[in-house]
Symmetry: C2
Subunit: 228 residues, 2 copies
Amino acid sequence: MLSSALQSQKQNAMATHRSQTKREKILDVAEELFALHGYDGVTLRQIAAGAKVDVALANYHYGKKLDLFNAVFERRAALLNEARLEALHQCQRESGSGGPTVEQIIEAFLRPLELAQETGDPGWRHYLALIAYINNSPYWGPRMMSKLFDELVLEFIDALRTALPGAREEDIFWCYHNLSGALTLTLAQTGRIDKLSGGSCQSADFQAAYDHMIPFVAAGFRQVCREQ
Amino acid sequence: MLSSALQSQKQNAMATHRSQTKREKILDVAEELFALHGYDGVTLRQIAAGAKVDVALANYHYGKKLDLFNAVFERRAALLNEARLEALHQCQRESGSGGPTVEQIIEAFLRPLELAQETGDPGWRHYLALIAYINNSPYWGPRMMSKLFDELVLEFIDALRTALPGAREEDIFWCYHNLSGALTLTLAQTGRIDKLSGGSCQSADFQAAYDHMIPFVAAGFRQVCREQ
DNA sequence: GCGGCGATTCAACAAACGTTGAATTTCTTC
DNA sequence: GAAGAAATTCAACGTTTGTTGAATCGCCGC
């Protein structure tokens, strides 16, 4: 007798003898292409070709192109939010009555993104690049980011407020903006830092990126939000 | 008798009785639309309509769509690079034999972007958003950023290396990566921080963004690149 | 005022786009 | 194994796309 968790995994893996295979393959290919070329840079025919499927099948499963785009964006959001929230709560439990340090909070914000990569599923890498594309877009950013990620971000900002007593509201948010920017460019995986550094740094190495980002951002928060 | 600098301004303003007006209007509209919707999200007909011009005129002046995209990207690059390099050299001259501090170098890297906005030309705002789009794109970033901006960036990194003796190469580049990310998200002007902060922060206020980014980034550099 | 030339528009092309209704295959259920 | 439902393909639609060649406009020198 399988546990219900394992059962649902089993269902996802085998599906109903093929049916969900093509359906999910469409999402996988759309995820990769949207992340690389953006919404308008990808045609439904490219996605269908990549998934070895007729172009009408995407419409059958997901409706219009915009609905497919949203489906890709929403597929992994809940899982990601749960992992990050769990990491925040864990460091809050483990810290004393003073609450977690800035470093611990930033770490809880970033490390789950790295774990997502380590599942071996390349889809996660593409998904993170898609988030970077959307978050940095003046068109899509305001339309899509808030609904799925604002609640989580505000929880982390609450924790940071506690860890930085006396900080001004605007200072905290501008610091979060800097963190979000550094993270976004990392997720985009443009490979630019590889070339600039002559090979010293690798965009694909999320662990190295976060190893440097955590002390960098924490020091920035403390400098800007230090008590007046 | 006008100075040659003013003369060239005058020429730009009056042009040859109209001829350069439509030609430049196409660039202006393309700049704004490309920044907002990306390369594939804009059609030549939208650009032509915005410039109140026939669709064939863009082709006549700039060739293919990709050539127009490049023309927009290149138009203001040299001017921007000169302003930033001048700011770097000035703070190098003003500093003692020890060279400028990290804060001064970051300031020279960022403040010229703010001055560009203060000329009153809204085109600069759109251009900076276009840089953000390209820099964050896994497709365009590697293809377009290096040629115009690598030389300048490496000059600033040289200055930072001097200001941070004993720092590891990879640490410096990862820190620059964080700076570049924070800056990129700022230039994108998505308005997301406005909503998240409930109005405490405004994306359009570049000065406030840099006022917070300079100490934030400088502290990050010092923390990560401190002597071992 | 006429010829020439750059700037601009007109008209049209073939290709590719998102979307859809109907036909066909594949699976599930009895 | 027949019936019904779901999944998938087929074929086509009306638009829109980037691009181009030819025609027209507007100005300047002669």
